[in-house]
Amino acid sequence: MSRLSLTCLIAVLMLAAMPPAPAQTKDIEGKWELVRDKSTDIDLYEALAVEIRFDGPGLTLIWTWGTGRSFRDSLALPLGGAAVHVPVTSRVFPSNVFMGLMMPVGSVRDVRAWRPDQNTVRLEESFRIRGSQGEVPETQTSVFTLSPGGEALAVEVTRATRTSGPPVKYLLKRAGSAEGFVIRLEDNWEVAGKLSVQAFMISLQGIVNKSGPRVYLLYPEDWPFTYVQSVYDFYRAKRNYSFRELRGAEEAIGALKKYVRGYVVWDRNVRSSLTVAFTVAGLEDAVVVSEDMIPLVERAGLKPVEDLRGKFVGWNDTKIYTWAYEKYWDRCSREYIIWLGGDAGPVMKPAVADWGIFKKCFFSDLSCRVTDTSEYALSSKLLAEMKPMSLVMGWHSYAKDLEREFVKLTSAYGHRVIGLHTLPNLSFSAQIPASPGFKFTNNHHLRPGDAPVPGKKVYVTCIQTDGMGLGAWLRPGRGEIPYAWEAETNYTWMAPAMAEYFYSMATPNDFMIGCLSGPGYLYPKAVPPKLLKQLIAISREQMKELDLNVFETMDYSEGATVEGNSDLPKDIVDMYYDGMPEAIGFVNGYAPSYTFAVKDGRPFMSYDYYLSPERPEADAVADLQELARINPRRPYFELLHIRESSDVKRVKGILDRLGPEFEVVPLDVFLAMAGKDPTFKERYLVRPQKESR
């Protein structure tokens, strides 16, 4: 397949995976409603709606102040500035009822309208207004301006008598758009506790969001994905979302039952029955409930579609998931599958289940450990029946196998993992496009043609694990030192507004990189080579869209750094070089790794240090200084991998103590210098030669 045709295929696949954009005109015409958080306070009426219509040369403009108790001001005006005399029939001065001002009934307003361009309407009014000391003349100008993407309408009002204080500004969004519900989840995930309520809410979210981005869940403050509240604020502040809070399961099902077709009962005595129930939920649009919640959903008029109580007692997971496979697999997605692992035993944290329901996924937490023969066989069977390069969402079970065993098996089928089981609100975020016209711009520190020359120093640069979500993005210190962040490149199509959230917050010191070995987490040594080439091509396209030029690989398919090897052979390194010609460099590993190469000034470098979150600062300083003595040539390029639980403040505290020989530089500058003066030794994983017969 030629590169062009492959690129086209990728583009088609990416487009096909995107949710349909909501139909939306970009014209200033239409009905608009107030975004209160971003508008001047309207005292009594609180709310404002504006309707704009053009009829040939004329304009109809209707202000509606308030909702239940409201005041309507409807104007039909010619465009071009001709004055229209409007009789005053009500004394209400609607924008400021709490001021002692009234319109003199029987007087006349002179109103003129213009449309200076397609996106602007200007209104000028002359009228009399009465205060406690009598009537005075007043003039008021209202300018209506459509936002560049057509999502919002800004209204700025000036009056001759109001010359102090902040300007009067209203921001309006299209009526009926960007409205949702928010539900706060309790911090109780015990199977024997309130997991049933959280699972119910998550299933409700996944079902309701099939008809649009309607439900956002607020997880507890210490949720592994730290951004839940911050993204919620972002949607409200930057994307003009308004949310109505639903308190408790009763209120939630009452408000949203029209989207739900039934319920599925899981068995508190068999934890895996909840995992199966999530599969049923996605296929049948059925909320998951424990036995004690049945009266609640019955009161809402819902009927049972599946009852798993008592069905799986005494069964092992292979038998349970085989039963689910036989009954439901045919109807499940072949492009997405959920591994609802992670926290195990008495606790489950199934945040990703909303996405699995949204995508009609099969759920399991099967082991991927070879020695768990029956579960491993079923895992393999499921993965083999998925389309190549599918997305395995969620995480492995902490009680059954290791991350590396899980990712090795998924990689063997060319699939890619997007973690974790705690990934929240994806069914909502997947449907929010980036702001119109938003361009993803990385904070490059090199301009075209720049070729920084390294000195006789130790250059240090830092990369943070899981930059988008688990990492220290919202914790202290970000922006104080050059820092690179692993970016989830699938957000280009999977959650573009989330990508915008991160990009729009980035400081000049925050540099994004692509990861992890492909478009999703995979181990390249385990992936069939033909698929690896295609996966790298997808990553390349995603990196272009996100303005990324550094890519990161990691491979624990042959064990971790210490007792296995995380190195890559030359043929795989070359695949990345060939498949990503725009990349200025590559980084490899998690803990230290030992693959190093350089090609045309583009280095492929492994981590020389892993900063454990438990490592005391003084010891970390000594480690970094010791590495600089063990590696005596200058420049020495010391590449650091920072675990997500270390915040930037802590890292800066360590780097500040290294001494004058050390210099912390941005990753792109680091790689450019390393490519120019590669003092590291080229090293690949060398496979033992097979003996010839």
């Binding site: 750094t561 210490v562 007792e563 090897n565 803990a591 230290p592 790794s593 030992y594 190093f596 470098m605 492994s606 981590y607 020389d608 240090y609 892993y610 900063l611 454990s612 438990e614 490592r615 005391p616 003084a618 010891d619 000594a622 480690d623 200084q625 010791e626 590495l627 003595r629 063990i630 590696n631 005596p632 040539r633 020495y636 390029f637 003092t679 590291f680 030794k681």
Partner: protein
């Protein structure tokens, strides 16, 4: 490596396990006390354990790395105190002195170990010369370790000074009770 360690351990059984008096010698099995030690950046929660034994003119120092109570890696030094350095081939890439630094043991090369009593039975100093691989290639690291018995004979302090590190690594152990 583990099999070899077990063989050595069988040949050089610590005095403590032979039921002899243990309070006056560093011989014995020593359990790590992390609260009193330099943080060791352990890999996967591995915990060090030291086994010191003497037989005739030879001493063995075995540093086990225990994972869930089982020996996952063993680093063995066998030498005659006061004698010439003893060479042994490097068979594993693991460099247990620090798991999170980009340093590998150089498999196929030889490392040397020498040792001497600073105080007979209670203060042992060893010197190892270890070839290692780093991102810039091969180099050697010389490590001086001093094993000192504490007052009362129940504590062992190991001070490691690497040629490449400005500050020492101090590990404190307590005597492990005989299991028989």
């Amino acid at each position: 490596m583990i099999a070899r360690t077990l063989l050595l351990a069988a040949l050089l059984v610590p005095a403590g396990d032979r039921g002899e008096a243990t309070g006056s010698s560093i011989e014995g099995v020593w359990k790590f006390v992390p609260a009193k030690s330099t943080e060791i950046a352990a890999w996967k929660g591995r915990v060090p354990e030291i086994v010191i034994a003497a037989a005739g003119d030879r001493v063995s120092v075995i540093q086990n790395w225990l994972e869930r109570g089982q020996v996952a890696y063993a680093d063995t030094f066998l030498f005659a105190p006061g004698g010439p350095p003893v060479s042994s081939p490097v068979r594993s890439v693991e460099w247990p002195d620090n798991w999170f630094m980009g340093v590998l043991a150089s498999v196929g090369d030889e490392r040397t170990v020498a040792g001497s009593w600073q105080a007979q039975g209670t203060d042992l100093r060893t010197t190892t010369v270890q070839p290692v691989l780093t991102s810039q290639g091969k180099t050697t690291v010389t490590t001086v370790r001093e094993y000192v018995l504490g007052a009362g004979g129940s504590a062992l302090t190991v001070t490691e000074q690497r040629s490449t590190r400005q500050t020492p690594v101090v590990l404190v152990f307590e005597r492990k009770e005989a299991t028989r």
